[in-house]
Amino acid sequence: MTEQAAERVRKVALVGNPNVGKSVLFNALTGAYVTVSNYPGTSVEVSRGSSTIEGSPWEVIDTPGMYSIHTITEEERVAREILLHESPDVVIHVLDARNLERMLAMTIQLIEADLPVILVVNIMDEAERMGLTIDLKLLQEKLGIPVIGAATGRKRGLDEIRKCINGYVRETDQHRFLYSRLLEHDITEVCGLMQGDYILSRRALALLLMQQDDEITSIVRHKEGDAYAPLAEKVRAIAFDRRESFHLDLSLERKEIVRGIINGVFHAPEKRVVTLAERFSNLSVRPLTGVPLLLIVLYFGLYQFVGVFGAGTVVDFIEKKFFVELFNPWISGTVKNLIPWEIIQELFVGEYGIITLGIRYAVGIILPIVATFFIFFSFLEDTGYFPRLALLVDRVFKYFGLTGRAVIPMVLGFGCDTMATMVTRTLETTRERIIATILLSLTIPCSAQLGVIMSLLSKYPGALLVWSGCLLLLFFVVGLLAAKILPGEAPMFYMELPPMRLPQFGNVVTKTYTRMQWYFLEILPLFVIASVMLWLGKITGFFEKLVNAMTPVMASIGLPRESAVAFIFGFFRRDYGAAGLYELQTKGLMDARQLTVAAVTLTLFIPCVAQFLIMKKERGWRVAGAIGLFVTLLAFGSGYLLNKALLVTGLLA
């Protein structure tokens, strides 16, 4: 190796099926942290990190999960982009030892494409527990590429992987796997008509062309220029001849090749070992036991841990004991001593001061609630419970035009709707994404909001009932209507179920930490900006005008004019608004009916600024704008109706 080559930063790309441990390996190689979860399809974006491996600089690229080099979903396409356009110096194919047979099909494709492949047979620990044995030496011999056994979750095999990456020298004669004579004939004919230079081998491209891969077709058309016409003609003729079952034939031929390779390499015990986790998994997917289990999880996780402990005990302690009694008086005094101008004092420690209001809300009320929620969510995510929950609710979600898959963003929405809106990306069709976005922005209260509203209404059990009844009703009605109105086909549901496992403490902590970090960086500036805006509004008198302007709207839904303030807060963040209501209630300005109406309207009301921005980013201006308008109208409309209904029936009076 020349010195110049050593200077250049080389690239290593990690590819493989979803949920095989690519992200764990990425973290181990780079020291950076990508959210790792026991949930297929969580890395939607490509993560990059730089690292020094065995003394040389490397760029490590983590790709979303892909099942085959012939891509179907958006994530797979993103993953293949890396292989197509970045020509990585090493491609690491990570696969799950337990499913060696199924996943080797992609290794074959990577080798066939002439990529510099290293195979990492991961999750060896669990495979061993199941009594499987894999002869890695023999596998290496048969494949003609480096093969390493690993259990990246337990840091096994990492050194070998590092050595192998840095010392990678391409074998000049990687093995060729032969297909049937008929298919080989077709491949040869197509390859013979190709003239351009490609990153992937012609052989692989020929097969992709025959599979009618649009992206590859356009690349080849572009490269070949005039020579493309006869090539296209040939491909069309073959595709037509084999129209009955080309995909199937190819899969079967690959399966046959894999079977040959695996013969003598992979040994499974006669009898399947049934683990405790499998028994538990069984319980979680049967409605008879699964639904009670879900209720238990929700009761202890959401209600007891997040609601009672997070929003109650911890908030009481930090907000009341620390901020109101100790910190605020002290900081007010200090600021007033330092800054002589009253207006500036107001900015920091006034009624809407950055410190006394913004920071207090963010740290005292929102932080404990969100933190406990993320601990709960990360724990659950790592057990592998979510895919099971998804299949449990799939039938119900179908009525809303969604599949069980959408349960993940929905549950996450109870933590942070903004983050959940981002995760709707993992849904397959645009239609599902839009429906999920609507439901999230309308009916799912985020944890901060939930916590505040719970404590707000906890004194009136009836109010809590009315509030949750309204939200549930709207969730169903809007979901059903959206499924009816939005054009598009009913989605299909399929999902791989990862084995259930006990989460590792460190993993849950890091995951909660990264989520908290993201959340805090996102909300704190907004709270500060909100404080500044409110301060500006106050000193210019604009705020007063706005409150006046909103008074008729507030009056029409039966609320005192002071509550307008909470709604103006609510525009910045819904939880901020809810916290505003909390203040009003403490001052005794609202009765049970008004509180309920305000809570319902505010929960439905426009998502916080951050969520709106993400909606715009994910769905575009038009859709985001339409949803925003719809949500606002529906929120105040429902508030109006609810108020009338409560007045007429005399409920909660």
Partner: protein, 214 residues
Amino acid sequence: MKLTDHAEEILESMWIAIEEDGRGYADMVSIGISGDDPALKELVSNALVEIKGERLNFRPEGRREGEMTIRRHRLAERLMMDVLNIRGDSAEIKACQFEHLLNEGVDAKVCTMLNHPTTCPHGKRIPPGDCCHEARSSGDLGVVPLTELKSREEGEIAYIQTDDGKKMQKLMAMGVLPGNRIILLHSFPSYIFRVGFSEFAIDSAMAREIFVRR
């Protein structure tokens, strides 16, 4: 004995009136034939049908013949709908023409191909033929969709039948390949199956498209 098309149609009408509507006889006027119809003469001379005034009755061989004729008609309907994907009136007309070709063992072949269906597309019963009885007694349940398997039942994937190419590729990438062993673990609320060492959940729409040999 090869009957004319029209004679077969009379047998069908009679069979519906007598066996399905349970009237005990068929009325010439209500099934729309006249006493001097040559097809009716043909049936009488073959000792299939007897005439008592305005009423028609089956003789034992006639009942059997009527049953097989109705069977051929309904098999033809299924063939039009399920396999050739022809629907509506044109399916009915084509079925009427097609049924007359389904004799001399062709019906058994078609019936086996359709996996011995028991009802026609309109929900009426298809009388079982010898092939159906044989299949039943030999326990050869043939190839069935995954939805028909019981929990914990195992089989070999026979084929995937779907119009949606992407769905097919997705399934194949998940290891749902003809020849692989598949175990159905649960069928409610979603279908959960195991291939190799992985478990997957799919909805019933997808489960209907995976065909398994038991």
